[in-house]
């Protein structure tokens, strides 16, 4: 029983990371109907940025917030310079651009920081004040950080005029432009936000999966499985799906298939959802009137 609870608890911590990444994917998807395959490598690159800052002697939380801000700006720049020119191109062109971006970030990180696996500090030490015995201090801290990110993102979209404008621009670009919303900028800010919350996911994942240029490959796959499970157009579904995939993946990895083939659980979930329930648990079923 104790081992079981331990698996569930550490699944929750990783699940939170998947949930944040899934949310980043959904944010971009809602605005553009595209999956940003570079989201994981962008987060990995952000995590290296934080590691570099700490390596230079900056304290953890300074590095954390500086990385979030730098990632936000970086996301906006990427959208304006690299993604924007393909806005009217066929979907496949955008997909190629995303794959290219992810390769670029992967190689850039390898070139700048090397391919060796590095440890990444956690700001959470000692015994956690909840879930003790089942969760490490970092896992408990990561759960808390996840909850903070989700609450902030929710409050931003729900209560601020800019958040409302971003939702409007994603839903109905033409009507948004007719009330004066600069839809192009809303997309760029969406990329910035996705990059920023992705960087948090990266920094929370790094102490668990360790830092190397390929660290986010598996994470992105789980996040994608979570987003598909919850419904790719539903932010709430993405968060639920991310956590569910984290816990399920851990349990199946521990009790059914073993850790080595754990990643195929994500693949199996994606395929199963797409076959039996393509709109996911909370997604909107697309009905086209002909």
């Amino acid at each position: 029983m104790g081992a079981f609870l331990h698996q569930v608890a550490s699944g929750l911590a990783l699940g939170g990371v998947y949930a944040i990444m899934a949310l980043a994917l959904v944010m971009i998807y809602q605005a553009t109907q595209l999956i940003n395959f570079a989201q994981g490598e962008m987060a990995m690159f952000s995590t290296y940025f934080a590691w570099k800052l700490m390596d230079l002697g900056e304290p953890y939380w300074f590095a954390f917030f500086a990385t979030v801000i730098a990632s936000f700006i970086g996301g906006i720049v990427i959208e304006r310079l690299i993604v924007r020119p393909f806005a009217k191109a066929p979907v496949l062109a955008s997909v190629i651009v995303f794959i290219g971006l992810s390769l670029i970030f992967n190689s850039l990180a390898g070139w700048l920081y090397g391919y060796s696996v590095t440890s990444f500090d956690s700001p959470f030490t000692g015994r956690p004040w909840f879930g003790a015995g089942y969760m490490s201090a970092h896992e408990a801290g990561a759960v808390l950080v996840t909850l903070c990110v989700l609450a902030l993102v929710y409050a931003f979209f729900r209560f601020t005029p800019l958040g409302l404008a971003m939702r409007a621009a994603a839903q109905n670009p033409e009507s948004s432009r007719l009330v004066g919303i600069r839809v192009g900028w809303m997309l760029a800010i969406g990329w910035g936000l996705a990059a920023a919350i992705g960087s948090v996911a990266g920094m929370m994942a790094a102490p668990i999966v360790y830092l190397d240029p390929n660290m986010m490959g598996g994470v992105l796959l789980y996040a994608f499985a979570g987003a598909v499970l919850g419904g790719i157009d539903s932010p709430f579904g993405a968060v639920f799906g991310g956590v569910a995939v984290g816990v399920l993946g851990n349990l199946i990895g521990a009790y059914v298939v073993g850790d080595e083939v754990k990643l195929s659980v994500a693949l199996a979930i994606i395929i199963a959802v797409l076959v039996w329930r393509p709109s996911g648990l909370f997604g909107r079923r697309l009905v086209a009137r002909v």
């Binding site: 409007a168 839903q171 109905n172 033409e174 009507s175 432009r177 009330v179 004066g180 839809v183």
Partner: protein
Amino acid sequence: MAILEAKGLEAWYGPVRAVHGVDFEVENGGVTALLGANGAGKTTILRALSGLIRRSGEIRFRGHSMSGLATEDIARLGVAHVPDGRGTFVDLTVEENLRLGAYVRADRQGVRADFDRMFALFPRLAERRRQQAGTLSGGEQQMLAIARALLMRPALLMLDEPSFGLAPLVVAEIFRALAEINRDEGVSLLLVEQNASLALDLAGRAVLIETGRVALAGPSQTIRADDAVRRAYLGY
């Protein structure tokens, strides 16, 4: 003085030119109706004015050229456009739809006062304030679209077939509100309508569009008295 002037306006849908050099104007504080059959190019003209489609020719609003401006800049200048199909943000609430109308405004108190005025003008919107806008009836969505446009505090309000698909009683209510807005607040109107009789009642001037060209233009009485218009568009 004209608040809006179009000279030699041409507009395209993709590679196809649908409007071939149209001249007309909207008087400051006046109501101008664009009349014409289905497919004559009325909606295309409004979309061209708002910069939603490729256009050429001269468009002047309050004396300034807006030929090269993007849609969002035209809106920010004070041109509100209630589009064909009402442009409702269906997943947002009625109140959020209205807040989007006031998105570019900074005067919070003015916005609050305008909310109250809109709820007085269309009491049904006040009742449905927290409801998802996509669940409103067609008439209510039309009212919402007009209220959203008015919250921009426009100098010119362009309406694309506000009577489309609505019951006569609802149409009467909406046109009463439009007359009130024009009379009491001095908002100029550019009205696209297929219901010519209704449009001529409200408008001081009318422009008849046929296959992307101006066929006839003048004061509403003159247009109404024209034999060809009477037979083709008024049906008596």
